[in-house]
């Protein structure tokens, strides 16, 4: 089991006291599995993804990634978790604008100390980025930038890939193409994938589907 989420609760401060966003969510994810997390706006999808990635802290409950308990980790340990075991793909790409495409792709693997040039090259070719390696992100289209973000994540060979609406900023055709490439590559690397999405068509391409509503799994 790559991921285990048990009875996770999380609330945020509001004008009239704490606003509960997650009211006891549980789920598990096995190695190589893909899971779509859907739900209406404000249902807590992105919050759950952030908690799993150690980007935020739970109020209650337990999250283990690769057998390591995330909720009790220090900031440094959570940073270490993101470096080595978890890869996060954002809707806004979050590339480093001052680094070339090639340097961006290699970046996370270099941080984790696991950079493999051949692997990076294969991923670049598979994602159609070979002709853009010396360019800077600002010279790429949105679809190309998201491909770079996917390559960056997968080059580090994470156990778990967390994707927060990775195709939300792309047109339908490009989104479909990018998603297909991502799913193919995730399967090749054997990583588990948890993807937050609004799109039912995207969700249908995942092996499993979990719907969140008002902070509960339904």
């Amino acid at each position: 089991m790559v991921l285990s989420v048990q009875n996770v609760k999380k609330s945020f401060p509001g004008a009239e006291g704490p606003v509960p966003v997650l009211r006891g969510v549980s789920l598990v994810l096995e190695r190589g599995e893909t899971l779509a997390l859907t739900g209406e706006s404000g249902s807590g999808k992105s919050t759950l993804l952030h908690l799993i990635g150690g980007l935020d802290r739970v109020d209650e409950g337990s999250i283990t990634v690769g057998g390591r308990e995330v909720t009790t980790m220090s900031d440094t340990e959570r940073a270490d978790l993101r470096r080595s075991d978890v890869g996060v793909i954002f809707q806004q790409f979050n590339l480093i604008p001052s680094l070339s495409v090639q340097a961006n792709i290699a970046f996370q693997a270099r941080l984790a100390g696991s950079y493999d040039e051949n692997h990076a090259k294969q991923l670049s070719e598979a994602l159609g980025l070979s002709d853009h390696l010396v360019k800077y992100p600002e010279a790429l289209s949105g679809g190309q930038q998201q491909r770079v973000a996917i390559a960056r994540t997968l080059t580090a060979r994470p156990k778990l890939v967390l994707a927060d609406e990775p195709t939300g900023n792309l047109d339908e055709a490009t989104a479909s193409e990018v998603l297909g490439q991502m799913l193919g590559l995730v399967r090749e690397t054997g990583a588990a994938l948890l993807m937050v999405t609004h799109s039912q068509s995207v969700a249908r391409r995942m092996e499993r589907h979990v719907h969140l509503s008002q902070g509960h799994v339904v």
């Binding site: 940073a79 993101r82 979050n94 480093i96 949105g142």
Partner: protein, 798 residues
């Protein structure tokens, strides 16, 4: 992880080279001005230390002749026989081919403490010094003595500049002053039960250690220079603060990404600090090198100013002293730390999931501007409190700091107010947009405009102070240097005969009698003067009770200098004890600029009754034909030409000292203004990239790029104009504080404030020109921005 993260951080600077240049150049300029001033100060202080160490100046009590300028050697012998631990010193000018050298003879066996050149610590040299004759000189004097003396000349950098040190016997021989001495140094530890000094040597007067007056003067001069250096540094730090804030703002998204990818916050902060320290050291190094150049150019003028105004000798050449280049590097690192601390704090506090969209780079949003305005009001109130109740030089500078920092903090609020006012008057849509956009621009340009405000105000303030001093001093010289010729003789026996000759040749002769004394425990020169038309018509009083000269002439009153009045708290109408059992009322206060000692003036007749053994060695002579009288004095009477000085030469020398002072302050003014212009340029250039989203809609709605460029230039000039208009009254207040508080605390006299409207108008023009030049390039860049770049603003695909 470390290297990968560091490479990512550094890549920001590679892509933003202008920003990098602005930061390094701002820091280098700031450090240059600071370390340049520190280099000058360090050199001057080293010269004072050398003088104290090799000549014993100010370190020990000394015995000086009560009248005349030499002590007979028999008096020294009598003191030693009586048990007094005193050491003889002979000083004089030794003529060289291109001027003269101050030759100091001392007796190394009896000098107290460590008064000796470093080289003399060696026994062999001491043996040479005593038996064969050795002269120690600093490097600048070595060549001058070449071939002039038969003694061995040893170069020793620890010797005071312009001086030569030798055994007293050698000095007596070279100066043709057999058995004569200039002064006796009194060792600090003396045997018990010694006979009183005035019993053995009634002709000598004891001068306490430490010439406090001259020290205070030179200290305050250096403090002024340091304050100027600090102000320039502050202006430079504004640039650094601006660029670092912008750079960190632009890197917010990178920081968020790096953290999301697993770089711990602590590592990130540490790497950013390391990055900044490296930049600070590189920029600091460049700044120190530039500072060396500035100091080397300015030092000769500073040395001449110190020599001319305060009589303090400073070497005119610069040495690479570790204390100032280390302090230059240290202040570069500290300044960078100060400039970056806010940005680093924000990064450290930024939640990992915070929005990564770069916020508007602002120091002052409306609310912030109001908060800064409130802080400025607190500072102004504190300044007013200091002005009313405070005393002391430190508080006077604290008052300056309150005034300048308060004005800088109030600037965004004042500019906002002015722009709002203009906005309300705007008629067309374009001008409404212009003023609204200007208001939005104010926060981003605040730091640069604060720098311009401080630089211009410092210019106005310092120029007003120096110019007021100049006007006052020229007027003072006209009063005091009324006699056409001044004569100074060495031989007291010659005095009565010379006076008779002068009286027979000139309509008015003004003998000057003087002794050193103390009035109200303040070291004072007591003068006896022959009150005549010259005093009555030329000398003006700062304060008097009427008929002052008549009362002085009749022996019913004295006149005192402002320094004595302020230090002793004695004013017109008070009484001063000028001699034991003689107390006279004070009839008036006269100015006496440039003199650290107090002065009291009484009539010649009364002075002669009090000090019958003192004869005048100086005479002022009124004549309608100075050249003819000079000829008669040298050819008919046989007086040496060097004993006669004409009024015009003294005035010319005094004014030349001022010209050199002007050179120093003028150069610092120009440099500070240049740094402020640079701050504006850098602000506009760095803001240009993040201003496209504000300008693109105006372009899309019909304003041409050329028009946008023109408006951009106009905006910078308008903001600079508003700033300089505020800077003029601020500068006047700065000058008022300098003249009425700092001057009184540091020098002991108050100067009248003169206003120079023409100068301020010219300065404002320069400031506007500097701002316009600074804005020209960014405006041209904007006018040439490709439409594709403007269109990117509307593209959501990115």
């Amino acid at each position: 992880m470390i290297w990968t993260t560091l490479a990512a951080l550094m890549s920001h600077w590679r892509c933003n080279r202008l920003q990098f240049f602005a930061m390094v150049a701002g820091l280098a300029l700031a450090t240059a001005l600071w370390s340049g001033v520190q280099a000058i100060n360090a050199e001057a202080r080293a010269s004072y230390d050398a003088a104290a160490a090799t000549l014993g100046e100010g370190q020990f009590d000394q015995l000086l002749p009560r009248s005349g300028d030499k002590i007979d050697q028999s008096t020294y012998i009598a003191l030693r026989r009586a048990g007094w631990q005193v050491s003889p010193v002979l000083e004089g000018r030794l003529r060289t081919d291109d001027g003269s050298v101050r030759l100091v003879g001392l007796d190394p066996l009896t000098t107290p403490g460590n008064i000796a050149p470093v080289g003399m610590q060696d026994d062999t040299t001491l043996d040479d010094f005593l038996t064969r004759g050795v002269i120690f000189v600093p490097p600048d004097v070595a060549n001058a003595l070449e071939g002039r003396v038969t003694q061995r000349v040893i170069t020793d950098p620890s010797i005071a500049p312009g001086a030569a040190l030798t055994d007293i016997g050698v000095a007596q021989s070279l100066l043709d002053a057999e058995r004569r001495l200039s002064r006796l140094i009194i060792a600090p530890n003396q045997p018990m039960g010694l006979p009183a000094l005035d019993q053995i040597a009634p002709g000598l007067v004891r001068q306490p250690a430490q010439d406090a007056g001259a020290d205070r003067l030179t200290d305050s001069f250096h403090l002024n220079l340091t304050a100027f250096g600090l102000l320039s540094f502050a202006v430079g730090i504004f640039i650094v603060h601006g660029t670092i804030s912008l750079a960190f703002e632009q890197r917010r998204s990178m920081v968020r990404t790096l953290r999301a990818l697993g770089v711990p916050l602590k590592v990130l902060i540490l790497l950013m600090i390391s990055e900044l320290v490296v930049f600070a050291l590189v920029a600091g190094g460049i700044g120190v090198a530039l500072g060396y150049v500035i100091a080397a150019v300015l030092l000769p003028n500073v040395a001449a100013t110190l020599q001319g105004l305060y009589g303090a000798s400073v070497a005119g050449t610069l040495q690479l002293r570790p204390e100032w280049w280390l302090s230059g590097l240290a202040i570069a690192v500290l300044g960078t730390g100060f400039a970056a601390s806010g940005a680093l704090w924000k990064i450290a506090q930024m939640p990992l999931l915070a929005s990564a969209r770069p916020r508007a780079w602002s120091v002052a949003s409306g609310a912030t501007a109001r908060r800064l305005g409130a802080l400025a009001a607190v500072l102004f109130a504190t300044g007013a409190g200091i002005a009313i109740w405070g005393q002391g030089l430190t508080l006077a500078f604290a008052l300056l700091a309150c005034l300048l920092i308060g004005a800088a903090l109030a600037l965004p609020l004042l500019l906002r107010g002015a722009v709002n006012l203009a906005d309300r008057k705007a008629r067309s849509a374009m001008w409404q947009w212009f003023w609204a956009d200007t208001r939005q621009q104010v926060p981003g340009m605040s730091l640069a405009l604060m720098a311009l405000l401080l630089a211009t105000a410092a210019n106005v303030g310092v120029s007003t102070m120096v110019s007021s001093f100049r006007v006052t001093f020229v007027d003072f010289l006209d009063q005091r240097l009324a006699p056409e010729l001044f004569i100074r003789i060495e031989d007291a026996d010659q005095s009565p005969d010379l006076e008779r000759f002068l009286v027979s040749e000139a309509p008015e002769v003004l003998p000057l009698l003087s002794v050193d004394t103390e009035i109200a425990d303040i070291p004072t020169e007591l003068f006896g003067v022959r009150v005549g038309p010259t005093y009555r018509e030329n000398w003006l009083f700062l304060d008097d009770s009427g008929n002052a000269w008549e009362r002085v002439a009749e022996g019913r009153a004295v006149v005192v200098s402002e320094q004595l009045a302020r230090r002793a708290g004695l004013w017109t109408g008070d009484s001063a004890t000028v001699a034991p059992e003689l107390t006279l009322p004070i009839a008036g206060i006269v100015a006496d600029y440039g003199n650290p000692f107090g002065q009291a003036i009484m009539s010649e007749a009364m002075f002669r009754r009090l000090h019958p053994d003192v004869v005048p060695l100086s005479f002022g002579v009124r004549t309608e034909d100075p050249a003819e009288l000079r000829r008669k004095l040298t050819e008919d009477y046989g007086l040496s030409d060097t004993a006669i000085t004409d009024q015009a030469r003294i005035k010319a020398f005094s004014l030349s000292v001022f010209e050199r002072t002007f050179t120093v302050t003028g150069a610092l003014n120009v440099l500070t203004l240049a740094v402020a212009a640079f701050a504006i340029l850098m602000s506009l250039l760095t803001l240009a990239s993040i201003r496209l989203p504000q300008l693109a809609p105006a372009w899309a709605l019909g304003l041409t790029r050329r028009r946008l460029g023109q408006l951009e230039l106009l905006r910078a000039v308008v903001l600079a104009m508003l700033t300089t208009v505020l800077a003029v009254p601020l500068g006047m207040m700065l000058a008022w504080v300098l003249l009425s508080y700092v001057n009184v605390e540091a020098f002991g006299w108050k100067l009248p404030l003169y206003v120079f409207p023409g100068h301020y108008a010219r300065l404002m023009l320069f400031a506007l020109l500097a701002a316009a030049l600074a804005a020209l390039w960014p405006a041209l860049r904007l006018a040439r921005t490709p439409p594709s770049d403007l269109l990117k603003v509307f593209a959501n695909d990115r």
